[in-house]
Subunit: 905 residues, 2 copies
């Protein structure tokens, strides 16, 4: 028969510390501590498999579990010489949840189970402490009523408050045994009224109902939400720990507390925690009495304190990590109730990892696995000072991390204007490329629409600037310059604060803290990561400033420079527009030649500017490769919006006023209409532009190679990698490559220098991945554009997808937003296929990824598995990617070597 129940007690446990899957975190910790001879109250753990069996059985406990539970209970009773519900030596137990991954406070706990009208009297008599006995009983009824019978806590609290008022006190400790008897009567009455049944006096029924209630709590709404937020699978189930009660509320030599072996906020090696004498665990967190710093225990009970330090220090060595522990002192005797790996901030994580290596407790490789890559974010961006009270008014998507504080503005122009004084927060329904200048000066961006890969999100992450996107509660009225969030009406100039790491919006002016990313521990830690990782890390950067940031953060080159961002500058746009106005089709060869000449003339104006752009990038990245993508976006992005023109024209016409603007607007509308597409994402963009209008590619290639030649002459090492976007067929690439190579030859000949360069392509269409073997005949490198690849693989527009993705993640159709986390099953499959088939054609094919996924740790693992050479991500995510790449390498190494057997300390 399957083993569902694991006993622990008397220095021996059925399970042990590596059985988190089966016993949950708490259960495996209790087993491990028992085996290590630590003072743990005995009990038994009902495995997570029992939880799943309970659900499978239509929310009823299968017979096998009930009988194994009974056996273990009997063994516990025999060990202690106590019996559940016994009139002489009654046993009291706690019933606690404990899942594989810690979900603090999400699931339910019941203490003092075994109490009933008789047992309470026995306890009162045996302990000579009636107050303690009745307090414990009323606590049990309250928890049972709330957790098992689902009666709101408020109702119980109300009854307690009434009694306190009667006694004119605010403290529980002022209540007497008789007071609690009154309270218990009230509780029982409440339960009868609410459920139609009496509070169950039979402890075995109490136990069965409690176990089931804890199992059910796996699926309570807050547990589901927590799992979704923390990407914990829903199908794990929770274990239940039934453990002999020990009491911290048995008088002044009793107490209870929680602690950490090191400071979880800073990482300092400092015994950290708090406790309360004469209290049960819940009192410490409830906040009614203020807990005392744990170091104070040394003064009150030095022996116990010494024992606790010894035990927790042993635990830290045993688990090789900071421990978060719970203890209870019952009449001077210390009991350990829980130990688990302590949660910590990013800063603490790095410091602790480096310290543990220094202390010889863990290896560098282990240290690297101890820090969540995302946690490094906290070391790179300003963070909210949460020590002061903050007024949270909404929550959007954590689109770009960091905290920002500023005065609200509603247009890019206002941002530029008002941004000269106080910092500003740019608030938009959604941002468009036109807003770039405003985004550059703003301290942070808030949008009401758009997802994690919306324009605002992508651009701000590139800038390392705080952004909260898709905040659907925010109603942005740009016309009237009003932002409404619930009842809050925020006007231009009002202060708000944003937390881009969590998506929270704060009313007013919060404080921010600036961490120091160049600290010794951080630098040490990142060095270790670089030593083990095999995946290169580049950055996506369009301008020298970003390139320098990327280089500072350890980027080994630029993986994506989007040249179109350079086209939006004020002095360039007119030339770009003039070029576009000449992108007309005609079958008349003469006319076609005239249009081309006009395009060339406009492009000639852009050439020196682009050359300067590229020179700046090459200079910033001196000696490192710079991947430059040729023009990618649909041309109409550079023109006024179609519907806006239509409205302007209609308005002027309706007014009947003669405006000289009208013919001009109409001419522009004709051009815009000609370029109008129903689905621009699937239209005339990417290499299609260069194929229809080769002179665009020609100009860009010329700018690249002239800049590179200029560098050479100045002793700067430029390493251009020209990247052709949106290729679906090898012939597209061949045609574009021909142009690039020809221009390179021309420039090098003219300048009398030669610069090495590569020509490669984005793999961002399923068609490209599926014909990678052919494309690699021409491509000297591949770069997976996983934004577009995800869009086309799923048939999902990232500009329009917010609602759908939210709903899909909520309905559990997807584990995560596929634009944030690379989908391994479909998109990842194409990445692997494209890489392996491309390399079959060209064994030394360099393969990278430059989609937004390049900065996401779990996506980086997929890239490592696919054998990519590098990932490219926003400058501010470079350290995260470096660590994720190191972890991926360590995981791969682990998979390929047999794992060591677990040995207890």
């Amino acid at each position: 028969m399957e083993k569902y129940v694991y006993f622990f007690g008397n220095g021996r446990a059925d399970g042990h510390g590596t059985m988190k899957d089966v016993l949950g975190g708490k259960g495996s910790g209790l087993a491990e501590m028992t085996n290590a001879g630590l003072p743990v109250p005995p009990g038994f753990t009902i495995a997570t498999s029992a939880c799943l069996a309970y659900f499978d059985n239509g929310n009823r406990l299968p017979e096998a579990i009930t009988s194994q539970t009974d056996e273990s209970l009997q063994r516990l009773e025999e060990l202690l010489g106590q019996k559940l519900g016994d009139a002489q030596t009654p046993l009291l137990v706690s019933v606690r949840s404990g899942a594989k991954f810690s979900m603090p406070g999400m699931m339910d706990t019941i203490l003092n189970l075994g109490m009933n009208d008789k047992v309470v009297e026995v306890i009162a008599q045996k302990t000579g402490n009636a107050r303690f006995a009745y307090d414990s009983y009323r606590r049990f009824i309250q928890m049972f009523g709330n957790v098992v019978l689902e009666i709101s806590k408020d109702h119980f609290e109300h009854i307690l408050d009434v009694q306190k008022k009667k006694r004119r006190t605010k403290l529980d400790t002022d209540l007497t045994a008789d007071d609690f008897k009154q309270v218990i009567m009230g509780y029982k009455h409440l339960i009868r009224k609410a459920t139609g049944k009496d509070f169950p006096q039979d402890p075995r029924i109490q136990l069965k109902m409690s176990i089931e209630a804890v199992f059910r709590s796996w699926n309570n709404p807050r547990a589901i939400t927590y799992r979704r937020m923390n990407k914990i699978p829903d199908n794990l189930g929770t274990a239940v720990n039934v453990q002999t009660m020990v009491f911290g509320n048995m008088g002044e030599t009793s107490g209870t507390g929680v602690g950490f072996t090191r400071n979880p906020a800073t990482g300092e090696k400092q015994f950290y925690g708090e406790f309360l004498m004469n209290a049960q665990g819940e009192d410490v967190v409830a906040g009614i009495r203020t807990p005392v710093p744990i170091t104070e225990l040394d003064k009150i009970m030095p022996d116990v304190f010494k024992q606790l330090r010894e035990i927790t220090s042993r635990l830290e060595h045993h688990y090789k990590d900071v421990q978060d522990f719970e203890f209870t002192i019952q009449e001077g005797k210390l009991y350990m109730l829980q130990t688990r790996t302590g949660k910590r901030t990013g800063k603490a994580a790095v410091t602790i990892a480096v310290d543990l290596v220094g202390e010889g407790i863990i290896t560098r490789e282990e240290a690297l696995m101890r820090v969540e890559p995302e946690q490094l974010n906290q070391l790179l961006h300003p963070i909210l000072d949460e020590s002061k009270p903050l007024k949270f008014i909404a929550k959007g998507l954590p689109a770009s991390p960091g905290a920002a504080v500023g005065k609200v503005v509603f247009t890019a122009e206002d941002a530029v204007e008002k941004g000269k004084g106080d910092p500003v927060i740019l608030v938009r329904a959604e941002t468009v490329p036109d807003d770039i200048h405003g985004m550059e000066v703003a301290a942070g961006i808030l949008t009401s629409r758009g997802g994690m890969t919306s324009h605002a999100a992508v651009v701000t992450r590139g800038m390392g600037k705080c952004c909260v996107a898709g905040c659907s509660e925010a109603d942005v009225d740009a016309k009237r310059k009003i932002l409404r969030i619930g009842a809050n009406v925020i006007k231009e100039g009002d202060w708000i604060s944003l937390d881009g790491s969590t998506g929270r919006v704060i009313l007013g002016k919060a404080n921010t803290l600036l961490p120091d990313p160049s600290s010794g521990d951080f630098a040490t830690f990142m060095k270790w990561a670089d030593d083990v990782r095999e995946l290169g890390v580049r950055a996506n950067a369009d301008i020298p400033r970003d390139a320098l940031v990327a280089r500072k953060f350890g980027a080994a080159g630029i993986g994506l420079c989007r040249t179109e961002h350079m086209f939006f500058a004020e002095e360039r746009l007119p030339h770009v527009q003039r070029m576009i106005m000449a992108c007309k089709d005609t079958t008349d060869a003469k006319e076609a030649a005239r249009y081309q000449k006009e395009r060339r003339a406009a492009l000639a104006k852009l050439l020196p500017m682009q050359r300067k752009d590229f020179f700046g990038l090459f200079k910033a990245m001196d000696g490192l490769p710079v991947t430059i993508r040729t023009l990618d976006p649909p041309l109409h992005e550079f023109l006024p919006k179609r519907e806006e023109l239509m409205v302007q024209i209609a308005t002027l016409e309706a007014k009947g006023t003669r405006s000289s603007k009208l013919p001009q607007l109409k001419k522009m509308l004709t051009v815009v209409e000609g370029l109008h597409e129903f689905n621009p994402m699937l239209g005339l963009r990417g290499c299609r532009l260069g194929i229809m209008y080769p002179e665009i590619t020609e100009m860009q290639a010329r700018a690249i190679f002239e800049a590179a030649a200029q560098c050479k002459q100045k002793g700067i090492e430029a390493k251009p990698e020209v990247m052709i976007p949106l290729v679906g067929d090898v012939k597209e690439l061949a045609l574009q490559k021909e142009i690039v190579n020809r221009v390179a030859r021309e420039v090098f000949e003219k300048k009398g220098v030669k610069v090495d360069y590569l020509v490669g392509t984005m793999i961002e269409l399923p068609a490209a991945a599926l014909s990678a073997a052919e494309i690699a005949q021409e491509a000297e490198f591949f770069s997976f554009g996983t934004n577009d690849l995800t869009q086309t693989t799923f048939g999902l527009s990232r500009d329009d997808c917010g609602k759908i993705i939210n709903s899909y993640v909520k309905q559990k159709i997807w584990a995560a937003d596929p634009f944030a986390v690379l989908d391994p099953k479909r998109v990842g499959r194409l990445v692997k296929l494209g890489t392996s088939e491309g390399r079959k054609t060209r064994s030394n094919l360099k393969v990278g990824i430059c989609g937004e996924h390049g900065g996401d740790p779990s996506s980086i693992a997929v890239c490592a598995e696919a054998g990519l050479n590098y990932v490219s991500c926003s400058p501010y995510r470079v350290p995260i990617a470096r660590l994720a790449a190191a972890q991926a390498a360590l995981n791969q190494a682990k998979e390929s070597t047999p794992q060591e057997a677990y040995t207890t300390a």
Copy 2:
């Protein structure tokens, strides 16, 4: 050494009839006829490989080819006792192109080569016919000048005309030897002036230059265009045939002609052709003298006629197909110059194939391979009567076959209004779903934008209605109701005619002919096709009328019923819009419930209408499966256009007039804005609708099952197959299937009947194909939606792609429009992968295709190869698909059994 040159003559040839690849069609025919002992003037064929070697060698003949040519020439001279350029017995030859696939008139021919100033005199003397000699010489110079030296024909014709004018005649035959001498002087002068060199007198130089010119003609623009139109690969090259001249212009016992062994227009078994006495081949086609029907030859030269009939009849038996032959009679002796398979109309193809089977010449299987599936189109649609002169004014895409004649209208409303009288042609820049009612009444549709799968194209093909789409020369001014094509200004009410099979637009009222698709031969032929094919053929049909057509054409069911087309009807749209107005997001549970209630109320109004739709379809398809796709398009398609609303509002506001419409318009705009998407193709559509608003799926399922139950009660056998669109993840399908199954249970329980049904999914996203193994856990059938699959695989919107596709096909990036011909490399790969992985999960998975490709023969071959169960296409393409499926089965069988060795007759 590689053999480049193949000799034929004296009853023996180096090559034979199966060597089309090497010798081209003409060369292999000459070899075969020679081997069969037919009277063929001897000569040699320079293989297609020589043409490719010529190009590879930088357009110069490699030494190996020159030397092999010299050898064969010597052999020819020895055989005939004549010598090229000899002053006693000069040899004259023709130099003709001949590719693997016939490209009539596309490449070049030179006759009478070997003539020079001396030879012409020898010939004049030997034949005693100076006029013949000088006529032959001037013809040679003219052809050489035009083909080899690239001087325009007009210049030569002008010189000839001048001479004719001098002689006051219009006929060549009135010119004398002296006249031709004058002409020859003029020609030589022209050549010297144009090229700076004299006309070459050395016949060996003439030959070398001519061979090279013929090779070059493979790449002349008209040959390239022809190949593109006929999907002939560009890398085959042409062979060159050098053959002893025979002369049909040696007097009244000489002549030349062309013919067919059967009537190529009707297929009747009737000796068919025409000839001219005292003429060379070019005169027959030039149209200066009117050729005589071939049967007249019986009267003039009965023996020759008898011999010709015998020979051609032997050829037909030998080649087992209708022969298109050329012959020359030189002084009473018959020579065969060419034989090849005769081109024929669709009607003739079927009749000939059936007759040849009847005559025991070919098997049914061979007969099936003899008809191009596309040719059947001609038997199914009205065709243009081309016997009358027609004024072609433009050419668009042949979007939907058939001919149509009508008066021009510019709006759907006008079509309905004016269509009550004379037939109308609806002319639009592009059609939208709103135009459906106008399209239904129009005789044909002409659009200036959009490709082969634009809205107009898809809808008209479904209706079996003529459509010319993407006619970019047409400038449609719907406001002024004017259509401009070049200099033609066509106003509302003017007559035009369309040929949807070729894309031609004709000014005025053409005649059309109605073929009879139920003719005996056609029925016989299609029966044979059905006997051998393994692929089922279904039709895409949304309404009973189309379903009945499909059934008549042999469809085995409906493979795609698009339910959204039903939503556009006038009496339904208000309910659809009311439903959409309630598709709002809110986090307030109460509000959400209110919106859902509102949606349900609107859907309840649609339920009886949908039920009636489905009942009609089930009834029409009684006993056959009907695949119904749940709602697919983005919701905003059912609402007014965003920009139109904006313009209306701006106009009203600018005018300042108080309009009660304004608030209403603004409310609508808010809804439309809420639904606005940048890329609707990648937005909230397909199963995403049913997942966000499950009550839509619920209503549709209810309508389907209630209709099916109703059928059962009336003795009609309904076989519904519910198809969920745009699935990318198995969980989407699982959620929608749950709804469908639940509603089915409810309906069956209530009605007390049970109907078998299937639930399956479209595979139209790369994500779906890539996770087909998982999806097949839920799907009982797959239907590849290759329109969307092509869009997403290539990242190419079919609504916007016209320009790009044209340019890509022109630049040879793609072999064909991937929306017309299924791309085998990428999209086809996904089809194969999805099918095989789906069947690994569910071995009996039914797999079909319902994209537009389902009616395209080469795409059907890909489907057959992938092992699909059926294809589904427009009703009017069902016979084409049936034949294509038969051919695919025959080709597959051929590939899997060793091919028989060729045996000569």
